[in-house]
Structure formats: C-alpha cells, structure tokens
C-alpha cells in the first residue's frame, strides 16, 4: 500500500513493467483482433512497446510527463495502424499535461487521464459505446476523477478496475468504428482488442504500485 507519490524514476519503472507485459501479451491481443479486425493488434503493440522500452530505459527523467511523453512518441513513431495513433496519443497528450509535474499523485493521475482521453477522442472521433479502446480509457478516466481525494494507491486500484470494466462492457457492444464496424451484430461477444490493451496497461500500473 502506497500512500505517497511516485517519482519520475518510479514512473519509468512502471512503464517498463507495462512494456514487458504488453510484449508478452502479443498472441492474446492478436487473437482478439482476429475476431474483430485484421489480427495484428498484438504485433503492433509488441512493436511499439519494444521501441518504448528501449527509449524509456535510456531516460534519466526529470518530470513525470517526460516519461509518459517519451513512451507516447516511441509508440507513435514505431507502430502505425489505428493503435499506433491512439496509444501514442494517449501517452503523449497525457504526458504533456504532466510536463511540469515531478511527483505523481492522485490529482496528477486524473489530469493525465483527462488529457489522454481528450487527445484520443479528438484524434479519432470515437465516443464511449463505439466499442474501441476509448471505452476502457474512459472507464479509467472517470475512476481517476472520482479518486482525486484518495491515496495514489487507491486511485491506481480504481483506474485499473475502471479500465477492466470499460473493456468488459465492449463485449456487449456493436462496433461502430474501425474495421469491426462492418461486422455489425457479429461483433457482439468479443472484447475490443484496443480496450483489452488499455485494460492490461492500467492493471499493470496497479500491480506495480500495489504489489
């Protein structure tokens, strides 16, 4: 149980643990995309987080934002595809909001998530309910807003649960965005691959902080 803040170096460690987790989830994420898209989501994420790992490992970060932004830039530049843009934008926009921040606390975490949500939604036009990673991101972001008065540890637990919830909800949705759109009703029953990734990312943050 962490009731203090995270330093830039701890955030760096946290991101590195996400990198390992996503890289190891390649098959699961690709399989999810085979159900709804073109089967390459895990490959793109693996590519992106391999690049991010190299980039972030080399950092000697002065601010929280610096770590997140470097992650976003690495994803954006190496992945391509829909997820390269949205995952890159998530970390980049979120990171920009914490450029001056030297200690991550619950309010800063919520600012990160607000900016990440805005960045992603502005870029791709997806709304909650469209069966995209936005559903998981918004789940986390709303949990973050509800946790600004909580400890960082509680806030991380809440955003992980929010992301998982958002991802779970995508199973029942009909896709209205991206490749899965033409599937219509046939998209029901499967989680959105990008939402699965977002849920894995926030749950890995929570494990880093709370285990």
């Amino acid at each position: 149980m962490l009731d203090r803040t995270l330093s830039p170096n701890e955030v760096k460690e946290m991101i590195l643990s996400i990198c390992d987790k996503i890289i190891a989830s390649e098959a699961k994420l690709s399989e999810a995309d085979r159900k709804l898209g073109d089967g390459d989501h895990g490959l793109g994420m693996q590519r992106g987080f391999t690049a991010a790992k190299a980039q972030v490992e080399a950092l000697d970060p002065k601010s929280i934002g610096e770590v997140f932004s470097a992650t976003g830039m690495a994803l954006m530049a190496s992945m391509g595809g829909a997820s390269g843009a949205v995952m890159g934008m998530l970390y980049q926009s979120g990171g920009t909001a914490l450029n001056e921040c030297e200690a991550l606390d619950a309010p800063a975490l919520s600012r990160f998530l607000d900016a990440a949500r805005d960045g992603v939604c502005n870029l791709g036009g997806a709304k909650p309910g469209d069966k995209t990673m936005v559903d998981a991101l918004v789940g986390a972001q709303e949990a973050g807003q509800a946790s600004v008065d909580k400890s960082l540890s509680e806030a991380f637990a809440a955003i992980a649960a929010g992301a998982s919830d958002g991802m779970e909800k995508t199973k029942a949705m009909i896709a209205t965005m991206g490749r899965a759109k033409t599937l219509g009703e046939k998209s029901i029953g499967h989680p959105d691959p990008g939402a699965l990734s977002v849920s894995i990312m926030f749950n890995t943050m929570n494990e880093y902080v709370n285990c």
Partner: protein
C-alpha cells in the same frame, strides 16, 4: 504455410528495401518506410499515397511518371506512422503542396491526420482525398465510412495523370475527387491470406462458403454465401455495384478492373471478366479499358473484386495519359 522470409518481424522493412531495388534507381528511400521518385519536376503539385504493406503492389508499387510521386509505408497491414508520412511528404513536396490520397481506414486516417498537422507546422500545404469505393461496407448515405479497396488503382492512376497537369493543389483535389466519386467496387473472399509474422489466417470461412463484400483484410461486408459459379458470382457483384447511387447505364463508358486478392488465378479473373463484359454489353454500357490481376492483394488470400470507374470527358484524357510504375504501366 511455407513463406519465403528471413525474420518474419522484419518482413515489411525487407520488402521495402527490395521494392527500392526493383525500382532500380527511379525511386529513393527518404527514411524508413518513406520512398519517393528520385526526380520530381521543380514546380509539381505532389501526389503522396500510402498505407500498410502486405497488399503489394499497392501502394508503394504505384510510384512513377504519371503515377504517385511517393509513398509512405507502414508495417504489414498497418497504417504508416506520422513520422514516416512526414518524411515522405518532405521528399515529394516541391513547394506547390501535397495531396494525400489513401484508403479510408481508421488507422490511416489518424496517422495521416497527425502527419498533416506536422507538415502544416513546417509550412507544407497538404490536402486529403480519401478512397472509399467499397459499396458493401456501408450504405450510400454513409459514404464517409466506406473503406477503400481495389478502386484505388484506377483512382491513383487518374490522380497521377491529374498531378502532371494540375496547376495548383485545388485543381488536383477537384480532379481526384471526381475520380474517387466515379469509382465503385465490391469484392468476394474465397479463402484467407495469412499474417507473415504469425502465419495465422486473417479470417475463417467454411470450405463451401464465400464472403460477399469482404474487405481486403477479411472485414465482412454483405454476408456469407454458398460457393457458386463464376457467372453467378459476377452477376451478383455487378448487381451490387449497379444498384449503388452512381448511375451507370446505356451509353455510359466505364473502366473495368477485375482484381485478384492474391492467389486467385488470372484464369479465374478472365472467366469473370467474360461474364462482366456480357452483362455490360447487354446494358449498352461500353468498356473503355480493362485492368486485371493481383493489384490490391492481401497476401495469398483467394477472392477477387470488381471495380467500375465511370469516365466522362474530364477523366478520359487523364486515363489516356501514359504512365509507368511497378504495379501499373500504360503506353
């Protein structure tokens, strides 16, 4: 599934190098994934295409005189990242601006959008025309959410000719929009391609089922049907196109493209063409020119698509302009 690869995760990077070797000097690498004509006229309005690799010869095989000036290539089936698009944009820009022309997929739209912002920040004028020719992917009322499939071949060819003669970016945008608006396609999937890095099939389909209106990655369209004869299938696909909102009828002239998605043979495409020609002749629609072959592919996927581009007095001279590229050359 045996494939001739070295490191499956480096397939995209290696194929781009091989592609530059194939261009044999006429095209130069401007960065990883970014390629452009080695020589572009000093005041040319530039045409940039791009998208994921694995669909060769599109898009990156369409660079040349009278065709595109450059291409931004992503990984296998993945839109190119913004920095790759920016590299390619810089390489083709001659001060008259750059038209981004690509298929309407979420990934491409987002990455090109970010790249357009980065280019604008450098003072490069960018306009965009999205290709959305697949009638099976959304109703005519929702055209902006249709995907781009094989129709991009005639559209890029017409755009390439337009870019040779356009005096400014606005003129190019309006000519290319006309070409795009006059093109309709629909496809059928017989069996999946595979993802080079995993060897996994891109979708599943019963031994006696075919996917009408499927996209070039296996995205579904109108639905699954039973295997049928070439003639019955041609009838069905032509009906889907002619029922769309673009009026094509007696006295009209069209380009016909029969596109193989990869392993469907030229023999099968020709048998389908024979029927398409018979249908059009019966309706007094004239075939101005024919394109046929594996031009927009999804690895060794089996299936094909039919595209029509309705030609008017503006588009015909553009079609008649000679052009040269790896994927399409016209004397």
């Amino acid at each position: 599934m045996k494939k001739l690869l070295n490191d499956p995760n480096q397939a995209a990077a290696e194929l781009i190098d091989g592609l530059v070797d194939y261009y044999n000097g006429s095209v130069t690498k401007a960065g990883p994934g970014a390629i452009a004509l080695t020589e572009i006229a000093a005041d040319k309005v530039a045409l940039l295409v791009g998208g994921g690799t694995g669909h060769e010869p599109i898009y990156h095989g369409l660079i040349g005189p009278g065709m595109a000036d450059g291409a931004a290539c992503g990984d296998i089936f993945a839109a190119p990242p913004p920095n790759v698009i920016l590299d390619a944009t810089r390489a083709v820009n001659k001060g008259q601006g750059v038209l981004f022309l690509y298929g309407n997929y979420a990934g491409d739209v987002m990455n090109f959008k970010i790249a357009a912002q980065l280019a604008a920040a450098e003072g490069i004028r960018v306009e965009t025309v999205l290709i959305w020719d697949d009638v099976a992917s959304a109703p005519p009322s929702d055209k902006e959410s249709r995907r781009g499939i094989a129709g991009l071949i005639p559209i890029v060819k017409l755009a390439g000719a337009a870019a040779e003669k356009a005096t400014d970016l606005e003129e190019l945008v309006s000519l290319v929009t006309l070409a795009r608006d006059n093109t309709r396609s629909v496809g059928v999937a017989l069996s999946p391609g595979s993802i080079p890095a995993t060897g996994m099939p891109t979708f599943e389909l019963d031994e006696d089922s075919i996917g009408i209106g499927m996209g070039i990655h296996g995205e579904q369209g109108v639905g699954v049907d039973k295997m049928m004869t070439a003639d019955a299938l041609a009838d069905k696909l032509v009906d889907l196109i002619l029922a769309d909102d673009l009026p094509i009828g007696s006295g009209d002239e069209v380009l016909v493209l029969i596109n193989s998605l990869g392993s469907t043979t030229m023999m099968e495409c020709l048998i389908v063409l024979k029927r398409v020609k018979a249908i059009l002749t019966e309706k007094d629609i004239k075939i101005y020119d024919v394109l046929l072959g594996p031009l927009v592919t999804c690895q060794e996927m089996a299936g094909l698509s039919i595209s029509f581009t309705k030609l008017d007095e503006t588009l015909k001279p553009l079609w008649d302009t000679p052009c040269s590229s790896l994927g399409y050359t016209k004397l």
